[in-house]
Symmetry: C2
Subunit: 342 residues, 2 copies
DNA sequence: AAAGCAAGCTTAATCCTTTAAGCTTGTGAA
DNA sequence: TTCACAAGCTTAAAGGATTAAGCTTGCTTT
């Protein structure tokens, strides 16, 4: 039972394929196909469960109704969550999503862009890696709709959705300071990703404004295994025993950090304040609960897909849009004045 | 700068499109194209960065090199993790992945299968919802490669990859019993999904074998908000005060349960033993740490994609394969004899 | 010298839609 | 009667590949 083609529909009804096609595409009135014939054709299609070949359609029209989603790692709950939100809106609008993960490897990212291009995806959502500017510029120059997120490429005129990393790190650090913490250490990755740098700068601004000392621990990016991260943090805490709060730049670092502190028997909240970028069930459940800066995932995803859909609507006169959304600072027990030895 | 076609390559080199096509597809020797011409053509292609139109190719050959991934919810870390593993292998083999989430809605699941079919995906990986058997049977009857996972459709002759829910629930319950817990309650969803039923039955078998009493709390599926789940659990604990351990059938239920117990001031591990299906960072970090049954995600994903790739290789003589992998029982503090009031 | 054959390509049909342009018929106006 | 025009379709090119079948040439055989 091979799949039926528009040609077979046409010959079964003794009409031309053009007529069937017009009816299928809702151009019956415009093309002055009579209501009777239209009805007859739709009935036949319904009855025989005919479905047009999408490939042929795409080949002819140049549109695939597919969105390419390139993230750092689809297995990461943050990106997975974004993928979920995007999917909802995309499917409602007749778009499917093809995803892939760069693992933060520029070479792989380039390949993926090429592959998606080969596949004629209609639009791109990309978390850029370093050194990918040229490829993204190519897309834009070819008038292909692109929205970046999470990290921006500063030198490119392209739509972007992200959160205010600098401001929220600044506010979070200020909050810690307001709670009388005097020696706040910032634990981050040794990464040049813009969002990581912004987080660090936000922290430092709050520190400098308050004439405090900045303690920054950069753990080696990605290469770092859990026990190495732990060793680095433990070392810092021993070298600088006056540190009274830890501010983690990612939730992965924080989870490792918490595990370490538990092992060391350090009481979070009481002996050491804590703040983390990127909320997680764990931080809410932990006792004491741990303060976090929650990314506005829902809002970012919504904006992302809206921008892309709009851009795909009118490829030409679309004006790029930069959206920087505020994060949610969630104050929990780990950063309050409950400290015994304050 | 429009994209170049094989026709333009051919005319630029004064040869036929067939020749170019054969060379592109590595059939140069087979078709006796001379090495010199082959070299000339590949050089030209390289130089002008020609890339064949995938849509045209797919239209002609009927292969899209796309795998359709239908899961319950891509935003769920479990499915996201599977998506990540599958992606690695798929991309290595030249396949792209298009995903979508059923949200456990049979109607949506059916639509998705239809959509993927319209899109001519080459193979399907599906976590079936209830009542989707007919649609899956259609796929199989059409000789389309399908691998189910997480949940099986018992009446269908189709490849499946999953874990041993019955056995691992049985072992986990037996472990709790060996630790002197006498009144173990099983908290699960009011769901008829096979894997949920298996987990329940595994628990019950261990209970009956040991002449203990079974306490089963089924919370309403999906509809349930956190506070409702909490209310139900709290109610059970108050009605049956002799319950000395909780066995949660999903990690979502457990996280909600832990939050409740924290609020109630019940000391996990000391006053109440605990075991959870589906491991999570949180259970490792929690103090005391919480025992869990970890799904063999990596192994399942590997098997899934391998089976599908094999099936796509030889569509006809492929024999369906049922794989049930063992889970990892991770014993932590929450289920040991540390109880004070034992 | 004719036939056979391999080497090295080319021809053209095919996959299935879309869509600009054209064709036929009937009606009303000039 | 002739022309214009609308209504209601149809014709056929185009989109870009794949691939079975065919066509030259030149060489070997008999």
């Amino acid at each position: 039972m091979k799949k039926m083609s528009i040609k077979e529909v046409a010959s079964a009804l003794q009409i031309s394929t053009a007529t069937v096609s017009y009816i299928l595409n809702g151009k019956a009135k415009e093309k002055r196909i009579s209501p009777e014939l239209t009805k007859k054709v739709t009935a036949f299609i319904e009855e025989n469960n005919f479905r047009p070949n999408h490939l042929a359609k795409s080949l002819r029209t140049g549109k695939t109704n597919v969105i390419g989603l390139i993230v750092e790692d689809i297995a990461d709950p943050f990106f997975a969550s974004v993928a979920g939100h995007i999917e909802n809106v995309a499917y409602e609008n007749g778009y499917k999503i093809i995803y892939s993960s760069t693992k933060n490897d520029p070479k792989k990212a380039k390949e993926l862009i090429d592959t998606f291009r080969d596949r004629n995806v209609d639009g791109y959502i990309i978390t850029p890696t370093e050194g990918i500017d040229k490829e993204i510029k190519h897309l834009i120059d070819s008038k292909l709709p692109v929205v970046l997120f999470d990290r921006n490429c500063n030198d490119l005129d392209v739509s972007y959705v992200g959160m205010n990393n600098f401001e929220s790190a600044y506010q979070a650090a200020k909050y810690l300071i307001s709670q009388e913490y005097k020696n706040i250490a910032f634990v981050t990755l040794d990464s040049v990703q813009p969002q990581m740098i912004d987080r660090l700068l936000g922290y430092e601004r709050a520190i400098y404004e308050n004439r405090l000392t900045s303690y920054v621990k950069k753990v080696e990016y990605r290469a770092a295994k859990e026990h190495l991260i732990m060793a680095e943090i433990e070392n810092m805490l021993k070298t600088e025993p006056h540190i009274d709060a830890l501010f983690f730049a990612t939730n992965y670092l924080a989870i490792t950090g918490i595990e370490l502190l538990n092992r060391m028997g350090v009481k979070i909240g009481e002996e050491l304040g804590m703040m983390v970028f990127d909320d997680n069930d764990l931080f809410r459940i932990h006792q004491p609960s741990i303060s976090a800066i929650a990314q506005p995932i829902q809002e970012m995803s919504q904006q992302l897909i809206n921008d892309l859909l709009e851009h795909m609507q009118d490829t030409n006169e679309y004006a790029n849009r930069i959206t920087v959304l505020p994060a949610h600072l969630i104050i929990r027990d780990s950063s309050s004045k409950m400290r015994k030895n304050a």
